[in-house]
C-alpha cells in the first residue's frame, strides 16, 4: 500500500536554529498539508499546498514557517528560527486530486527544541 514518508522521525534542535522537515508524498497526490500536534493533543492545521503554491495557512503559520516542493518530489516544512513552543509532532498529509478520497498521513516528525 502506498504511504507518505516523513524524515527524520525525531529531530532535536537548539532554540533559534533552522530546521527542515521532509515529506515524500504518494506519487499521484497533488495536495499537501502540514499539521502539528503538541503532546497528544489536538491536531492543528498549519498549511495546505497545491500547484506549487500555498492554498491556505493558519495563524500559526507565521513568517518563521515556509513550505516548498523544490524537486517535484519532497515537500518540506522549514522553521527558520525555532522556539521552545515549536516542540511538537509534525504530520504531513497528502491527497489525490479527487474530492471523494481521504488524506493519507505520514508517521510524523517529533521536533524537540531545547
Amino acid at each position: 500500500e502506498p504511504e507518505v514518508t516523513q524524515t527524520p522521525s525525531h529531530q532535536v534542535t537548539q532554540m533559534g536554529q533552522e530546521v527542515i522537515l521532509r515529506c515524500v508524498p504518494i506519487s499521484n497526490h497533488l495536495y499537501f498539508y502540514w499539521y502539528r500536534q503538541i503532546l497528544g493533543q489536538k491536531v492543528e492545521f498549519l498549511v495546505s499546498f497545491y500547484n506549487n503554491e500555498i492554498s491556505e495557512k493558519s495563524e500559526i503559520f507565521d513568517d518563521q514557517f515556509s513550505v516548498e516542493r523544490p524537486d517535484g518530489s519532497n515537500f518540506t516544512l522549514k522553521i527558520r528560527s525555532t522556539k521552545l513552543e515549536d516542540s511538537a509532532m509534525y504530520f504531513c498529509a497528502t491527497l489525490r486530486q479527487d474530492m471523494n478520497t481521504e488524506a493519507f498521513f505520514g508517521q510524523g516528525t517529533r521536533l524537540t527544541v531545547v
Binding site: Y33, V43, E56, F91, L95, M99, N100, E102, A103, Q107
Partner: protein, 112 residues
C-alpha cells in the same frame, strides 16, 4: 470556514459494550466528513468517511458512523468495543477547497 467539535475529551466503555464518540461540524456547502484514529506514537490512520449517499457509513475494524444533516453530526459508533480500540479519535471536516480541519480529539478507553 469549516470547524469540528468533539464535545468529549474522554470516553470510557467496558469491553463488549457499544461505544459512541460524538462529533458535530460546521461547514458551508456539502460536508466531507472523516474519522481518523491515532495509536500511541503513531500517525493518523483513516477509519471511514462520508462524502455522499447512505447516511450510515461503515469503516475499518467494525466502526461505523452516522451522518445527520439536521443535527450537523457525524458520530462514530461500534456495537461491541474491544480493549484494542483504546486510542485517540479525531473527527475531521473538509470543504470544497480540500482543506481539512480536525476536532480536538476524544480519548477512548475500553476496559476489560
Amino acid at each position: 470556514a469549516q470547524s469540528v467539535a468533539q464535545p468529549e475529551d474522554q470516553v470510557n466503555v467496558a469491553e463488549g459494550n457499544p461505544l459512541t464518540v460524538k462529533c458535530t461540524y460546521s461547514v458551508s456547502g456539502n460536508p466531507y466528513l472523516f474519522w481518523y484514529v491515532q495509536y500511541p506514537n503513531r500517525g493518523l490512520q483513516f477509519l471511514l468517511k462520508y462524502i455522499t449517499g447512505d447516511n450510515l457509513v461503515k469503516g475499518s475494524y467494525g466502526f461505523e458512523a452516522e451522518f445527520n444533516k439536521s443535527q450537523t453530526s457525524f458520530h462514530l459508533k461500534k456495537p461491541s468495543a474491544l480493549v484494542s480500540d483504546s486510542a485517540l479519535y479525531f473527527c475531521a471536516v473538509r470543504d470544497v477547497k480540500l482543506d481539512m480541519r480536525f476536532g480536538a480529539g476524544t480519548r477512548l478507553t475500553v476496559k476489560p
